[in-house]
Amino acid sequence: MREEMKTDNRIPVLEAEDLGIDFGGLTAVNNLSLKIYDNEIVGLIGPNGAGKTTVFNLLTKVYEPTRGTIKLCGQDIGKMTTVEVNKAGIARTFQNIRLFMNLSVLDNVITGMHNTVVYGLTDSLFRTKKFRESEKLAEEKAREILRIFELEDKADVPAGSLPYGEQRRLEIARALATEPKLLLLDEPAAGMNPQETEELMKTIRFIKEHFGIAILLIEHDMKLVMGICERITVLNYGAMLASGTPAEIQANPQVIKAYLGE
């Protein structure tokens, strides 16, 4: 009870209220309310087609919400574009990997710093001191991030030639390079074997502690979800079915029904 009180006094990193979107007559997401606090890992789960990725697309303004408000650290981001949302502090990965396949692994991460290590066009064209210093800084930062994901040996390899699991990790690395307050991970363990998943769990925990950011993740691997999430929200047919700690969710009869049927 005391824990609850403490939580409510803080400003949430993400606060979505009554979020919803209709595609024509179809309501894909409805009445979704989400609060994510600083330094917290929250899971978003649900059967296939429940609208989980649609929620990510709403939060990053790839889709325009039909209803509801989205606030990031108290700031209304409902009117922003995808680019502005990222600048405000939300970064994401994609269910179907979207890397810059022809760029090197290192350049993929440095590209993530587009708005964090900034210099002007004249700096680029005339190779000014500011350009050289910024590029050096960006490269150092990028290599540091690659080290976390154990990709430092592949820095100069084109992203497209990485194996699947490493591509997934690189996507997270690139998202982190944008220095987000909230990181959205869309099925980060998809296609990974149990050992890789185990490694990934450690990495996600490390990111949370090292960068002190909030993480919202979609995942079907229940071991991962139950293992690292502090709270879980369950979606079914676009609506919120349940929300609570992993233990509460596992014991919730409605959730079990949604997953396994009657």
Partner: protein, 354 residues
């Protein structure tokens, strides 16, 4: 010194160093041949045009190779630059007798105007996804050709006169017609030089290489590789693509300016769709995102028809066959892997995207 040498041949800079060396060595050799009289008239007359085509092709590679947007109006941008330069050079002839300064000013004016036109075209088009830039630049090339074909520009002591009606310039006595409708530019003072052409290529190479290996260039390539992902890391797609379009158009404008000032008379019909396609062919054959390839392909494909002149009627037939053969060979998977293996063995992993 040793440090500089190391840097020049680092993996990252090797392609760039090769480009500079190709241009500088070719310039020195050709200039010595020309000055010592060991060059045919045909070849020496091609020196400046080749420089113009190479610059326009390098610029187009920024669009097609690095930005991934098809631009079918590079000839049009050259046309804008060419006729701007003719007017600027012609009207400044009395004020600035020094041809070098006048050439530089004319080329800057051509670049600025062509860049501005590129920007205007980009505003509506780059907000859209898909091949709209190709469609609009295709139309632009046709429009600009028709526009200049009907444009009359004259100069007298009262200043400049523009007209779209045949000979309604109303020039005072002693006035000079700079652009005369379908006849195009006539009586242009030929102030273009091979040196200016070589310098222009070096400038174009520097601009494109510096741009590509920077925050802006990475954004351009990221937008090409994955639009949605690029937006998700905070890259504004339209602005990024605009940068590539404007810089490409400006460089094409400068190249056109040099071209315009290399001919005593020049009609707008020179800058037609064929020219745009020709430059695109240089870029595609040289390799998308490969500037050294662009330089070599342009040189070979400009010189080839001239060297085949002795074959008379069969000239374009042979040219076409050679084009097809190059295309087949350069796209052959076995050839590619073979070349890649060779590169790795010699440790010369030329980075085609850097």
């Amino acid at each position: 010194m040793g440090n500089l040498f190391k840097k020049m041949f680092s993996r990252e800079n090797r392609g760039r160093t090769a480009s500079y060396l190709i241009i500088i060595i070719a310039y020195i050799v050709l200039e010595i041949m020309r000055l010592s009289g060991n060059m045919t008239n045909l070849l020496s007359s091609l020196l400046v045009p080749v420089c113009c085509y190479i610059t326009a092709a390098i610029a187009l590679n920024l669009n097609v190779g690095f930005s991934g947007e098809l631009n079918l109006g590079q000839g049009g941008f050259m046309g804008v630059g060419a006729f701007t330069a003719v007017v600027v050079s012609g009207s400044l002839a009395g004020v600035i007798p020094n041809p070098v300064i006048r050439l530089i000013l004319a080329m800057i004016a051509g670049a600025v105007l062509a860049g501005a036109v590129g920007w205007l075209i980009g505003i509506p088009v780059l907000k859209l996804q898909g091949d709209y830039l190709a469609i609009v630049t295709l139309a632009f090339g046709q429009i600009i050709k028709s526009l200049i074909t009907n444009l009359y520009v004259g100069l007298d002591k009262n200043g400049m006169h523009f007209s779209f009606v045949d000979n309604h310039l109303n020039l005072a006595e002693g006035g000079k017609v700079l652009i005369s409708g379908p006849m195009g530019a006539t009586g242009t003072e030929r102030i273009a030089t091979f040196t200016a052409g070589a310098v222009l290529i070096l400038i174009a190479l520097t601009i494109v290489y510096n741009l590509i290996r920077s925050r802006h260039g990475r954004a351009i390539m990221a937008a090409r590789d994955n639009r949605i992902a690029a937006e998700s890391v905070g890259i504004h797609i339209a602005n990024t693509k605009m940068l590539a379009v404007v810089i490409s158009a400006a460089l094409a404008g400068a190249a056109g300016a040099l071209f315009g000032l290399n001919n005593a008379s020049l009609a707008a019909s020179k800058f037609d769709f064929n020219l745009s396609i020709l430059i695109l062919v240089y870029v595609v054959l040289g390799g998308l995102g490969n500037l050294n390839g662009t330089i070599i392909a342009t040189t070979v494909l400009v010189l080839l028809p001239e060297l085949l002149r002795s074959l008379q009627d069969y000239r374009m037939l042979i040219y076409a066959v050679i084009l097809i053969v190059i295309m087949l060979v350069s796209n052959n998977e076995k050839m590619k892997t073979g070349l890649e293996r060779l590169r790795r063995k010699t440790g010369k992993g030329a980075d085609s995207h850097a």
